[in-house]
Amino acid sequence: MQLSPERFRSQAQAALRDPTLQQALSRARSGFIDKRRKGIHDIADFEALRERGRRIRDLALSQLDHHLEQLESAVRAAGGQVHWAENDAQAREIILGLCRQADAQRVTKSKSMVGEEIAINPALEAAGLDVVETDLGEYIIQLAQEPPSHIIAPAVHKTRQQISELFDTHHHQGALKARLREIPELVNEAREVLRDKFLSADVGITGANFLVAETGSIVLVTNEGNADLTHTLPRMHIAVAGIDKVVPTLDDATTLLRLLGRSATGQAMSCYTTFVTGPRRADDPDGPGEFHLVLLDNGRSRMLAGPYREMLRCIRCGACMNHCPVYSAIGGHAYGWVYPGPMGSVLTPLFRGLENTRDLPNACTLNGRCASVCPVKIPLPDLLRQLRAEQFRRNITDSRTRWGLRLWGALARRPALYALSTGLAGRLLRLLGGKRGRIRRLPLAGGWTASRDFPAPQGPGFRQQWKKRQTERKPV
């Protein structure tokens, strides 16, 4: 099925009706939240750490051109090459060109969200290359021919039964009759299958969690060790990253690493955190002969200029989606593009155009949990509200909502009319509620009452109560 942000509504509805997906999501839900809560315990003043993270990212962005140039010369000094891509097409072209130059047949990849953003896999496959995802979750969804549904746990929507079936089809030609298998067995099988791919790869492609301007290093964080096998074993290492990923110093990266692991998986430190600087040195016993860094703009410089600059602070930890009630009800695929959840609802409209992503800024209850856990303090609900306002201004909001908002605006500006109509509506709802005080089916809001009753308003309204209070309080 081709997913698209334009079909958010129908995709979300399908997700709610998918029992296997719901089973997988309910397992993940509390897990992520508990892990983070326990993980941030060992830093007494976690709030101060978040504030420091925010400042580091803001300062880095506020001198981005300077840091990018510094990064470029440091990578070159270490013997690497830097390529610049204005958009996804240019990035694909550069990477494909490099693979051809390396005379590559097999490419191993370590999970990269920018890789998804530029849709590098289909481009390389179309050119006849064998592309192998090596992060276990990413490998699973590659077999299933699906996009990731979470930025750090791409196969979070898959159950063990589904994974057993996929491995049966792809590793055993169906001989196991899709029997349910244990987790260690599955992990071990993937390890063996992928080990051969690692050893025979010509090019390794990774993303980068951070880029360090002072040393020209790229930072790779994994628990599996797949990024390290990807950048160490092949002849050529290509790293692809957004221009927003730069931080000035190693110490800055250190602070952000303390935030990243804890916010993502509750780990003080992921198993493998690697700083890669250039290609193999003259006297090194291993490592790739060539190192290439592809820096991608793809709309980021536009974001930097506009009112959504704060979104560029994002370090892709996934905490916002882990704490989002909408995400945890529908999963990542419903959002229709690479970035799901709250961060995706801001990013996708900015990357793909507000007119093609109408529902995303509205798929939010503005409960604020995402902003309260975001390690770099991105005010996600504010940004979503800003996108909604922009939709209204640019006439993108659908006509029913526009009329509703107009009507409400007209009422709200006329106090007498407002009092009259809300009073009437209240009485009508009480009537509908009957003795039970609950409404089974609300006209015009059938979707809301489909899964729960609507409580009828009780007693006098706010304005009446307020008036009463004011008179009672009057000094005698």
């Binding site: 397992r27 993940a28 830093i43 003043d45 420091r52 300062l59 506020s62 001198q63 981005l64 051109d65 990018l68 270490a78 610049w84 891509a85 204005e86 276990l136 699973i140 746990a153 791409p154 196969a155 063990r160 987790i183 992990v187 071990n188 992928l194 080990r195 690692f198 002072e214 290093s217 628990n223 599996e224 060790g225 160490t232 221009i243 000035p248 110093t249 110490d251 800055d252 250190t254 602070t255 003080a268 430190m269 992921s270 198993c271 493998y272 955190t273 690697t274 700083f275 890669v276 600087t277 040195r281 006297d283 090194d284 016993p285 291993d286 490592g287 703009d297 410089s301 930097l304 200029a305």
Partner: protein, 217 residues
């Protein structure tokens, strides 16, 4: 025709200069207003550095043995292999610390980076940090990165005095080296793992299934 590089940098510069007061004042190398001025919020602990390191190391599912002298490393390795039912075969990193050890005859010693027969590898850590129980290994002529990731079981020799409190201290110490930064600077915290199948932690994803530290004075 202008290059992608120039276009991007021009747009970035315009974005920063276009919004008054939005270009930061902090110097990238520290200086005023830079967050690395004040000391960062980070884990604190009471008690000795070594205890903290070992506690965190074990929390990350790694294990350790104290070795009295460097010369006792071979017998400790032999015991470790026997205790864990592993074949008496060892890949040794070409590190100067390991060059003059006398290995018992029953142990098959190999060198190089050939993935064949790479069951157990022995390498030397450049540093360690107590903050998270992490080993630091820098790639270089004495330290092939391949060994640290392809081996099924990873043994690492660590000098006690190389344990530092925080990552900032590791940077300060490594920066003094003439060959810094190495191609691959690896912070290793416990053996390889994945939680990609039903959010359940499973050790031994792509890297070593076990990580064992040999702590020497």
């Amino acid at each position: 025709m202008s290059s992608a590089r120039d276009n991007i940098l021009r747009r970035v510069a315009a974005a920063l200069d276009g919004r008054n007061g939005n270009r930061g004042t902090g110097s990238p190398s520290g200086g005023h207003d830079h967050p690395s001025d004040a000391s960062p919020p980070r884990p604190q602990w009471e008690g000795a550095l070594l205890d903290r390191f070992l506690d965190r190391l074990q929390a990350a599912s790694a294990s350790w043995t104290g070795v009295d002298t460097l010369d006792a490393v071979p017998t400790t390795v032999v015991d470790y292999l026997a205790d864990n039912g592993l074949a008496p075969r060892l890949r040794v990193a070409p590190h100067r610390l390991l060059q003059n050890l006398s290995w018992p005859d029953q142990l098959e010693i190999t060198t190089g980076t050939d993935p064949q027969g790479l069951d157990v590898a022995l390498s030397v850590a450049d540093a360690a940090m107590a903050e998270t129980g992490t080993l630091v290994l820098c790639s270089g002529p004495e330290s092939p990165t391949t060994l640290d990731f392809l081996a099924d079981h990873h043994l690492v020799v660590l000098r006690r005095e190389h344990i530092l409190p925080y990552m900032e201290d590791v940077w300060a110490s490594l920066r003094r080296r003439p060959d810094f930064p190495p191609r691959s600077l690896n912070y290793i915290t416990g053996p390889s793992r994945t939680a990609d199948v039903e959010q359940t932690m499973q050790l031994g994803a792509h890297g070593p299934r076990s990580l064992h530290v040999l702590l020497i004075p």
